[in-house]
């Protein structure tokens, strides 16, 4: 299949050139098998992975209607060496401190075995505990910060200090007000305590109370739940939908209901812990394909169909592909058109987790399916959460009617978990109606557009300033690379000193040298807030020297590309 699609010329229809003007034929596409290919625009270093997909025949029959630009710039060698050196120094000092604690020269604040258990198998000697004691504790004040207001575009933090190097915290009693919030998953700005959604929730609380005191199957199925599920189904464009109280539990409790022994799960390398847990709980065979890499996925599908189950070579009962809409640690968007094409060809099922992309992508805010302009009926199981864009809590699954009826009786979450609380349900209904435009205003669409503009602006300015930013140009999740362990703590603290709250991430959520700061853009951020944030980020970036990017792009969006340059490039 790959050979024929590769050699087929563009199929006669009008095809748009990719924005950088690279000609369709010159893309190193000699070895076939590639839907991905490495095009080399002039300003890129060849070892960086910048993937452009022009929508002509070379990329699989014109599957993409708009340029798909993702970049994951490679770690500079010097920075990698220095990062390892930093971790080495911390490890040596960690061993020193552990020695002192063991010989009682220093007081041990963290859990350890009791005296009587000295000869038992050691509990706290593995790397994870070593890391927690000696590295995480030293910069712990950048996480678990208590907030005391609604986490909108600005948030209030409770001020705290530590006198014993983060082992214990004391509250000073003061509140840091008006911290610009770049960390909350508040993509459309629905986390607010005023406005139509909040009023509707308050009214429903007055009528139904807050607790439901039962599961959906017993006495907990309110009419608001039914209405919400119909609304979700309409929003997604599927036949039927079902909602659960917790997004994590939606994944981990429903995948076991869908697959079992004798089934194959193909899961992306960087899938979320809930998907991994659900896959493991199901008991199916799990194979991992490289992140967003369609050749890897196709190879695995072909192997699975050709060879079947491991010893008996019987065909697999089901093949389920697990992907996410936006990967929150990388900011990359799944190559959905290609995944759907593969799924149809090889008769597999697709489970799409749109936790971060629902409401945040697409012209109508309907998620990654809308963003690519595809048919929602092609995705077998559409899962998402209400936590991120809708300002509520919980998760949903949407799909065909038979699937939903099956899940209603066979899912662990449906049978055992308590139903969603009425004010949360009302918040979902109100915000979804707002996004769809059913409350008679264009507020929802305005927010979606504002988010898209904010994202584009923020990403462009960040790359211009010289930071290394991962991910797709359209994703509202912006990971900025920090690499060195000391800079993780320093970045979090310096930003808070200047009144901006950010989320910094290190090991084990990311690979050990690729620690990052992750910004989540919101529609509630005004341009002034973004400008303030960007100037502060630039200042802190200069102070900490984190502007690692080797291609400083000049600030120009509308420069006309000179097509004749490419005639002179030798391949």
């Amino acid at each position: 299949m790959t050979e024929s699609s590769a050699n087929k010329p563009a199929n006669g229809e009008v095809c748009h050139r990719a924005k950088n003007g690279v000609k369709p034929g010159r893309n190193g596409f000699v070895k076939n098998h590639h839907h991905n290919h490495h095009q080399q625009p002039m300003y890129c270093y060849p070892e960086d992975k910048v993937q452009h997909t022009a929508c002509n025949g070379s990329s699989g029959l014109g599957l993409y209607s708009r340029p798909f630009i993702e970049s994951f710039e490679e770690t500079p060698m010097l920075v990698a060496v220095l990062t390892y050196m930093g971790y080495g120094i911390l490890t040596i000092f960690g061993y020193l401190r552990d020695f002192l604690r063991d010989w009682k020269i220093e007081r041990c604040h963290i859990a350890r075995e009791r005296e009587e258990q000295k000869d038992f198998v050691p509990l706290y000697q593995d790397f994870e505990n070593f890391y927690t004691r000696n590295l995480y504790m030293r910069i712990r004040d950048s996480w678990n910060r208590p907030i005391c207001s609604v986490p909108g575009a600005k948030v209030d933090l409770v001020e705290r200090v530590s006198h014993d190097y983060n082992w214990t915290f004391d509250y000073t009693g003061r509140v840091v007000e008006g911290v610009i919030n770049m960390g909350s998953y508040n993509y459309l700005g629905f986390a607010e305590n005023t406005g139509y959604c909040a009023d509707a929730s308050a009214e429903v609380t007055m009528k139904y109370g807050v607790g439901v005191a039962s599961t959906r199957q017993e006495m907990g199925n309110l009419d608001r739940h039914e209405e919400m599920e119909e609304l979700v189904a309409k929003f997604l464009g599927v036949e039927s939908a079902m909602a659960f109280g917790m997004g994590f539990a939606t994944n981990s409790m429903n995948i076991p209901a869908l697959t079992g022994k004798g089934c194959l799960i193909l899961s992306d390398e960087l899938n979320h812990a809930s998907l991994v847990l659900g896959a493991r709980l199901s008991g199916s065979t799990i194979r991992v394909f490289k992140h967003n890499n369609m050749q890897s996925l196709e190879k695995m599908l072909r192997d699975a169909i050709v060879h079947g189950q491991p010893r008996t070579h019987r065909p697999w009962k089901k093949i389920l592909i697990l992907v996410e809409g936006i990967y929150s640690m990388e900011g990359s968007i799944v190559r959905l058109p290609e995944v759907i094409a593969l799924k149809k060809r090889y008769r597999a099922y697709l489970y799409l987790d749109e936790a971060h992309s629902i409401g945040a992508l697409g012209p109508g805010g309907r998620g990654v399916v809308d963003y690519f302009g595809l048919d929602p009926r092609d995705v077998d199981v559409m899962m998402g959460t209400f936590t991120k864009s809708f300002g509520a809590a919980g998760g949903y699954i949407g799909g065909r009617r038979e699937l939903m009826e099956y899940l209603r009786s066979h899912s662990h979450s449906a049978v055992y978990a308590a139903s969603m609380s009425p004010p949360v349900v009302e918040q979902i209904i109100a915000s979804m109606k707002c996004i769809m435009g059913e409350d008679g205003t264009t507020l929802g669409l305005d927010r979606v557009q504002q988010l898209a503009e904010n994202t584009l602006y923020f990403r462009r300015r960040m790359t211009e300033m010289g930071f290394i930013i991962y991910g797709n140009n359209d994703s509202p999740v912006v990971p900025m690379m920090l690499y060195m362990p000391a800079k993780i703590g320093a970045f979090g603290r310096e930003m808070l000193k200047r009144n901006i709250g950010v989320v910094v991430v290190g090991f084990p959520a990311t690979p050990i040298i690729e620690s990052r700061a992750r910004f989540c853009i919101s529609a509630a951020h005004t341009k002034d807030m973004l400008d303030t944030a960007l100037s502060v980020i630039s200042e802190v970036g200069d102070l900490l020297q984190v502007k690692y990017s080797r291609h400083r792009r000049l600030p120009s969006m509308d420069r006309v590309v000179d097509h004749s340059i490419y005639d002179q490039i030798q391949d």
């Binding site: 911390l90 000092f93 060195m484 800079k487 102070l543 900490l544």
Partner: protein, 68 residues
């Protein structure tokens, strides 16, 4: 005034050194240990170079038969 600028520059360089070697995350006494070890090793290297460089240079020149 110039002294202020120089002091600020040195302070910023020290901050960069602290960040890169991850000493930023360590407690003051740990920093003192690391800095003293580093300074003593570097000092010893410089002293050895100072004392033995003339001998080494003479030996090299003798090897290349440029001087007796």
């Amino acid at each position: 005034m110039a002294f202020e600028d120089v002091w600020k520059k040195i302070s910023w360089l020290y901050y960069q050194y602290i960040l890169v070697t991850a000493l930023y995350m360590l407690e003051p006494w740990e920093r003192a240990i690391f800095n003293s070890i580093l300074v003593s090793v570097a000092g010893m290297a410089v002293y050895t170079g100072y004392v033995f460089m003339p001998q080494h240079i003479m030996a090299i020149l003798h090897y290349f038969e440029m001087v007796q």
